[in-house]
Symmetry: C2
């Protein structure tokens, strides 16, 4: 199968491409290196006959159309988005362009070139604040509180219309926090950076009790590959994640332990969340994907520990 | 109060502006006459000191920013959108620009100029196909089937994020089919046009049994004016409509009756819906707005009858 991976130079995309190639697929990747990096694909570009790379902004519908015309792909995996919620909190236009408009452009190209199969990376951020609840796929009253979550929910709605109007088969996963090799930002990254610079203490946003499920990236790509061949028209939607959670303070503990630092004082900025638009407590209802036979291989703490080791080994 | 009405030259907008001015407000209107018309505002432009008009595409963020800077409005009423679902079924970019991007631009201007109050016109199309169900505001699993519904749901999601991040107070109404004076398209309009051209018979899309609640525009503008002063931060959401419904065949009967035509044969194209993306059966759960003390003054059939009379009086 010939698969277009949009946003494939990113942390999750590059891990997924490795899996897709290992399974014998041809992969065409489009990325503009806004967040993704050439380094993530340097083992593939010019070195793997089944891999083709285009450095291209996905908002340019003319250029993306030409790639569709040339490559005649069977499947689109859409991972391109702004994944830095704090950056778009300062400038929401980042989300309008890199999250929403990229989706519109890909859907238009799929419509025009009759590509019927899509995987879309959505997010837990579409749920907004469901404090303490375990949110299921059909939870009512979605009220995203970040521009990122708002645009991703808008993408889901747009995909709903396109899939109906054009008989597309679409798999949507709502990702939780995903971590692992090639991670580029987020709390683990920040803590390691701060402790490398100044190991005398660690500033922690909020009260440190923000708890989230962290999914190991190889568990996620395993799930994508396993479920992507959807047979039904329209949207098939799953929450994907782990049932366990890790608090921010626990992440700090793991980072300090793996860096061999003892007795580091933590300075909490206080408040309920890390920043405005952050969801301080979050838990998925994972019944649907568990019933379909998939479970994450790593707990949230195991995912954090492996990621810290890998970031320390490969450098920031 | 100084109110910006975006899309105010349209059918609903121009009716609402009449009400807002009658209540002593100042109104600033932006419209690009994509669907709205100068005729709808000709009784106001240059004739009412409390009314200011800008002919401007809302997708141009620079130009819209300058209007915000000049006018210093207190409230934004956002009615600008593509309202012709059949047109965007052929070209979804119309929705991306005129429905979604206009919303993004207005929200950005509100964020920048610290405007905290918004009314947003959403739609029953966000619900998709809930065949036979009476859908309430918190119905789960929204799956719009038209590009219009997809983009409107995306706008709601974007507004959710902006209202949280910027402490906005937002009223969203999900409009049903709205009809009345200054109507520019839709089934009533089509039937009158066809019968004026060729009164020997009437072609009806689908099986004629598609039943929808039609709300009279003055009932809608009454509800907007009554509820727009929202006190709570975030989104306050209502379905707005009538409990009665009118079938397409009944509309044809009313049109023939008001035109004085008897025994006109109807030719049904057959099938369940009028066109792809059309929702053939639809009913709101209106408990929330009824509990808040509002009911439509006209039934669906009365709204159709009054509208037919007015369209016949004023011409197509």
């Amino acid at each position: 199968m010939k698969i277009l991976v949009a946003g494939g130079a990113g942390f999750i995309g590059s891990n997924l491409i490795d899996d897709l190639l290992a399974l014998g697929n041809q992969v065409v990747c489009i990325d503009n290196f806004f967040i993704g990096t050439r380094k993530n694909l340097e083992h593939l570009i010019g070195k793997n006959d089944n891999f083709t790379f285009y450095e291209q902004d996905l908002c340019d519908i003319g250029a993306v159309s030409r790639i569709f015309e040339t490559e005649k792909v069977d499947f689109v995996v859409h991972l391109a988005a702004n994944s830095d919620i704090q950056a778009s909190a300062r400038n929401p236009e980042i989300e309008y362009k890199n999250t929403y408009t990229t989706t519109f452009v890909l859907l238009e190209c799929m419509r025009h070139f009759q590509v019927k199969r899509l995987f879309f990376a959505s997010t837990s951020a579409v749920y907004g604040e469901h404090m303490g609840d375990a949110v299921g796929e059909e939870s009512p009253g979605l009220r995203p509180i970040s521009y990122y979550g708002g645009c991703k929910l808008g993408c889901e709605a747009l995909i709903s219309a396109y899939s109906y109007m054009n008989d597309m088969k679409v798999l949507i996963f709502r990702f939780p926090n995903v971590i692992g090799p090639r991670l580029t930002h987020g709390v683990i990254f920040d803590f390691i950076g701060r402790l490398k610079k100044a190991p005398s203490g660690l500033r922690i946003l909020g009260d440190g009790m923000q708890a989230k499920p962290y999914l190991y990236v190889k568990d996620l790509t395993d799930a994508i590959v396993r479920f992507m061949d959807v047979r039904e028209k329209g949207i098939t939607l799953y929450n994907v994640g782990v049932e366990s959670q890790t608090t921010v303070t626990r992440i700090a503990d793991i980072v300090c332990e793996k860096m061999g630092l003892k007795g580091i004082p933590y300075f909490y900025t206080g408040g309920r969340g890390g920043w405005k638009g952050d969801v301080p407590q979050f838990q998925y209802d994972l019944k649907k994907i568990h019933d379909a036979g998939w479970h994450a291989a790593h707990t949230s703490d195991e995912a954090v520990a492996r990621t810290v080791e890998e970031v320390l080994r490969c450098g920031l």
